[in-house]
Structures are given as structure tokens and as C-alpha cells.
Homo-oligomer: 364 residues x 2
């Protein structure tokens, strides 16, 4: 990108917007999408906003065979005053470039990507829902499009942004989840792609998730792939524990995704004067702390749920309850503070939010 010119082809007729009450996640899309094409030797070109429409690819396109793809996920919120608020979007595009590096994909111009997103949201601004707890989910992604059955980096890519209105995650206050600690399947290992937001990590997780659901658990906790001792992630969220009054989360080790909600939670806790440690933590330590009454809370963090309290762990056939199976005070406070900041109910003292107003973009 760089000196990007975006052509805008608005659709003739707008779709009927679904009610956000009870809307399923990721099944409804707005009227438009952003696309840019990359050709090796030329760079990014043909930046355009077009009606949301199917993508046409050669059957030999590298994405179908060798999985060269990365994605991001973030949300736009509608504030009470009508402004649209983006939460740390520059962090997503920075991470996207890190993922691209691991997957041998071209870098995007992060400022251009943010400008493309802002322009797209302005075109589809009526799709940012207003009801409490709703938002517009944003999915930037890049796919390898070169028609070539060869295990080599593609010479052609598409960078795409699509938008999906999403409803309230928690209907009746944040609800704890039951988590199965996974002992057979592995999500990622150091030296692999676990720290990148790429399709293969998610494909690899489906089998364990299916087993967990059959057993009545909503997500799995991933242990490290080497010793199967150390806590890595929960489902597709980062995970935090409150032990002896301190907050602990697994250190980023090369196989854990560096979540932007994770990063924000750490910064928020520190701003409150709460001790937060990023380190290796074993499942044994969690269990012992629970048995000794020192494990007060556990919660996952991610874009979809923001904070997901953990009410129960099952590990090697034993299950144990956390905080009486209820959402803890810290989880609840973090959820409220972060969503209030995201939606503009409270002032953004961190400088995390970028606002989009009808004709201007204002940086807080």
C-alpha cells in the first residue's frame, strides 16, 4: 500500500438489517467489503470498496492447498453520542504483519489498512448496532491466491475486510464457562505457528473442541505441546488466574497468541496497582492453589467475549470448581471497565480508542 487510493463502488440497494437480538455470531454481513490485491513485483494495488460479494479463485489457488492465510478480529462499538469507536485497531494490523512474517506473506501498510477500515465503516456505518452489548465485528484477512500447486510462498494475495453485526454475548451478566484441560491434542508448539493468527491453528483445534463439547464442556484449555504441563490458552482466548491475590497469566513463549485483550487487561490491572505476572504456570500449580483455597478466580480474555470467567476445570478425570462456579469480582470489574471504555460509557484514559464520526476521524 502507501499512497493508497480507494475506489468506492456502493451497492444499488441496501440489505435489510437483521435484528441484533439473538443474532448468531458471524453469519450476517454488511453491504460492502474492502479488497486490495497483491502481486509480487508490483505490491498492493486496486484498493477498493465493493458490494459484499463472492470471491472467485482458481481451483489451484494456494489458500486451498497450502493454507497461506492470516486473519484478525476486532470490534467497532456505537457510543451513546452516535460516534463509532474502534478498540486498538492499530494493534490488530501490527499483529497481522507479525503473522504475515511467520507465514511468508507480504506486509501490509498498517496506516493504510486502518484508513481502509475507517472508510469501509463509514460506508456501512448504519450497520454498527446501537443496543447495549452489541457491536460490529471486523474481520481483516489475507489469502494466497496464486494458481500454483507448489509448496512455496504465493506470488499473489488478497487483503480483505468484512464486517458482521453481532449481538450481546452475555444476556444476563457475564456467565462462567466449564473448561476441559486437553491431554491428547496439541494446539501449537514453540517453533510452530501458535503465535500467528493463522487458519491452521484453528483447524487443529476442532477435534479437541468436539470431544470437550460431547463431555459437556464449552472449551478446552491447551497445555504446552512438549511436556503437557504448562498452561497455554483456553479455546481461542488467553487465560488469567488470580492466586494469592496476584494475577498470573502464561508468558508469551512463541506458541501462545499475543491477544490484544490480554495486553489491555495486563495494562489495566497494572494501572489499578494490581500485581500481574507473566510466567510459566503448570496445571498442577492451578490445581494445588484451588485445593488450598488460594485460587480465587480464573478467566479467559478475547475479542468475542472480552472476559469469560472460568467456573470449573476438568483435568485428567478430576473436576474442580473456581469461585463457587460464579463470576468473580475481578473478572466482573475487568469486564465492566473494559466494555465501558470500549463503548464510551467511561472515559478512555489509556488512549486505546479511535473514534469515527460522520465526516471526521478523531483520535482520543
Amino acid at each position: 500500500m502507501g499512497n493508497m487510493q480507494i475506489s468506492i463502488n456502493e451497492c444499488q440497494e441496501r440489505k435489510t438489517k437483521p435484528s441484533t437480538d439473538g443474532i448468531a455470531f458471524g453469519r450476517n454481513f454488511t453491504d460492502h467489503m474492502f479488497i486490495a490485491d497483491y502481486t509480487e513485483g508490483i505490491g498492493w494495488h486496486d484498493h477498493r470498496i465493493v458490494p459484499y460479494e463472492p470471491i472467485t479463485l482458481d481451483p489451484s489457488a494456494i489458500i486451498f492447498h497450502y493454507g497461506q492465510t492470516v486473519f484478525e478480529g476486532l470490534k467497532a462499538y456505537r457510543a451513546k453520542d452516535g460516534a463509532i469507536r474502534l478498540f486498538r485497531p492499530e494493534e490488530n494490523f501490527r499483529r497481522m504483519n507479525e503473522s504475515c512474517d511467520r507465514l511468508c506473506m507480504p506486509q501490509i501498510n498498517e496506516a493504510d489498512a486502518l484508513e481502509a477500515l475507517r472508510t469501509l465503516i463509514k460506508v456501512d456505518r448504519e450497520w454498527v448496532p446501537e443496543a447495549e452489548g452489541t457491536s460490529l465485528y471486523i474481520r481483516p484477512y489475507m489469502i494466497a491466491t496464486e494458481p500454483h500447486l507448489g509448496v512455496a510462498p504465493s506470488l499473489m494475495y488478497k487483503f480483505i475486510i468484512i464486517l458482521s453485526p453481532v449481538g450481546m454475548y452475555y444476556k444476563e451478566g457475564i456467565a462462567p464457562v466449564k473448561i476441559l484441560v486437553e491431554n491428547e491434542y496439541v494446539r501449537a508448539v514453540a517453533g510452530g505457528t501458535g503465535a500467528a493468527k493463522t487458519a491452521g491453528n484453528y483447524a487443529a483445534s476442532l477435534k479437541a473442541q468436539a470431544v470437550a463439547e460431547k463431555m459437556g464442556y464449552s472449551q478446552v484449555l491447551w497445555l504446552d505441546g512438549v511436556e503437557k504441563k504448562y498452561v497455554e490458552e483456553v479455546g481461542s482466548m488467553n487465560v488469567f488466574f488470580k492466586i494469592d491475590g496476584e494475577v498470573v497469566t502464561p508468558a508469551l513463549n512463541g506458541s501462545i497468541l499475543g491477544g490484544i485483550t490480554r495486553k489491555s487487561i495486563i495494562e489495566m490491572l497494572k494501572s489499578w496497582g494490581v500485581s500481574v505476572t507473566e510466567r510459566r504456570i503448570t496445571m498442577e500449580e492451578i490445581k494445588t492453589a484451588q485445593q488450598e483455597g488460594r485460587l480465587d478466580e480464573a478467566f479467559g480474555t478475547g475479542t468475542a467475549a472480552v472476559i469469560s470467567p472460568i467456573g470449573e476445570f476438568s483435568w485428567k478425570g478430576d473436576s474442580f470448581t473456581i469461585h463457587g462456579g460464579k463470576a468473580g469480582e475481578l473478572s466482573t470489574k475487568l469486564y465492566e471497565e473494559l466494555t465501558d471504555l470500549q463503548t464510551g460509557v467511561k472515559e478512555d484514559t489509556f488512549g486505546w480508542v479511535t473514534e469515527i464520526r460522520e465526516e471526521a476521524v478523531v483520535r482520543n
Copy 2:
């Protein structure tokens, strides 16, 4: 599938066939492709042979985001008598179903898939090249097509077969490759997806491959992801060593792809009375055997090259030559015997080849 009816829509005009002399791998495709659609609750439907044409998918299709996809690779050879010979195709469809299981994708009917392939090859029979060393590369694959931004198995899939004429792999007799032993990046770990033929494994391999190429090596040797001691695969091939007159290959451990060429080589060696052991083998053992003059040969096995002799390893900064950097006797004999069997120069005493003749399919 099951009781499959294939509709055939032949293209009006056939493409000009490229010369197979110097043709690039995986860049030319035949006139037609096979497609079947899967819908949860209905199963496989609309089995069809259509002109080779682009695939159209919703931008939210699961393949683009969560990588649910598997593929296979095999070859059709033209025998001197004009018959078209497929090498163990039923093994590919069996393995495809194993990959599908790991990726939470629906099973195919293996007999129907083979019938679909035979029908497609009959329609495009003129594309199976005749020159020595050439073949028609066959790529069956399955992709998740449901429009849904959710980390859950897709409810819709496409099973596709495309065909690509390929030239001679070795122009002047089989040539040894230089291999870099990879110490930083990891291809797969037990509990992951290494034993499945799925896109994410290949995406994960690109970075190490790029580093190796910059250093003048043609492929990497992958070590296990846990201790980084044990040999797993070479590039996208299985690997064999001849030490003290015995042949050794890494045992299938859950992170190594069970190659069909690997399996055939083991069976062929056993039929010759050569001792073959499938076991764990460390890189240290390989190096020691080389230093003591006990490592006679090393070679990779796979569909593309069939046999790829290894002339040099570089490991932790030291490099050492194998068999004087030349193809060994065993590698050469295996290559010749297997390709002679595949192309019908020698009798197929193993029952591995399925023939396709103009109007009938004959099982040897």
C-alpha cells in the same frame, strides 16, 4: 456419496496442451475438474465433471479463516501400450478419510471417489503425457465452504479433483539434494495435525524452507517438536537411511505423514529380503554412523520425486556428505524398480496399479 451419479458437462473447446518438456510443476491444468458438494444432513450430492473453472465462495467461507481442508497427491502414468496407470489410488482416498477425521470433516465414499477419478481421467485422457518420466499429477482435495465466522466444523464442503500434466523430475538421472537440518522451526508435534495431509502443515513449513534456500539447501529435515533430536521428515517427503547394511526409517508416531511411497518402499525392500526397521532415530545417530563410515545412503520418498537421494546434511553448522554426494545403489534401484512398475515397463507383482483403458478399467 454412495449410488453416485456423475453428470458430465464437457467443455466446447479443448485447451492447447503445453509441451511437457521443461513444464513447471503444478501450473497447467486439464480441461475438466470433478466436484461434489456436501451439505450436513444431506450428505454428498451434485457429483459432476465440469470444465476447469474458478471456484466462487463467500468471503466468510470457513476455508479462508479456519483452514478446514485436506488434500491428496498421486499420479497417472501412460504405459507404452497406451493404458493409463494409477499407482495405489485407493491408498490416497483411505488416507484422505483419515485426514478428514482429524480435521472434523466428512468422510468420502472411497470407491465413489476412485470411480470419480477414473471418469475424470477418461474425459481428460489425452492429457496423460506419453514422454518418459512424465505423468499426470492428480490433486483431490476438500474445502470447508460454509459462510460462517465461527470456530466450528463447517456444515458445507466441496470435494474437488483437478489434474495437472507434469514433466520429468530428473533430467539426467536421479540427482542428490542438500538438506538443512532444522533446529528452530517445527513442522508438527504429536497431538497436532502432522499425520494429516492438511494445509496448515505446509503453511507452517514455508519459513524454514525459505531460510534453507537462502543458505543453498534445497529442503529441510524436520526434527521432532519436543526434544528436537529425532528425525521426522525431509521437506514434504519421508526419509530413509541405510546404516550397517540395514534400512531404517522413522516410525509413524502421530506427527509424521504416512506416505504411500514410504509404505511401498518398505514393502518393496521386504520383498527383496532387505531388512527394514521403522523406529525412532536421532540425528546424532545419523551423524555418528556417517563419521564411522556406516551410513551408506539416505533418501527421501514422495509422490513428486518418487526417490530423492540425499547427498549432504547440514546440522548445527556442520555439514557432512553421504555416499560421496552421489546417488547410492539402493536409492537408484528403488527409483528404477518403482517407476518401472508405475509406468508398466515391469510387471506389477504387488497388485498396486489400477489401469484405465479407453472403455474399461482393469485391475491388475
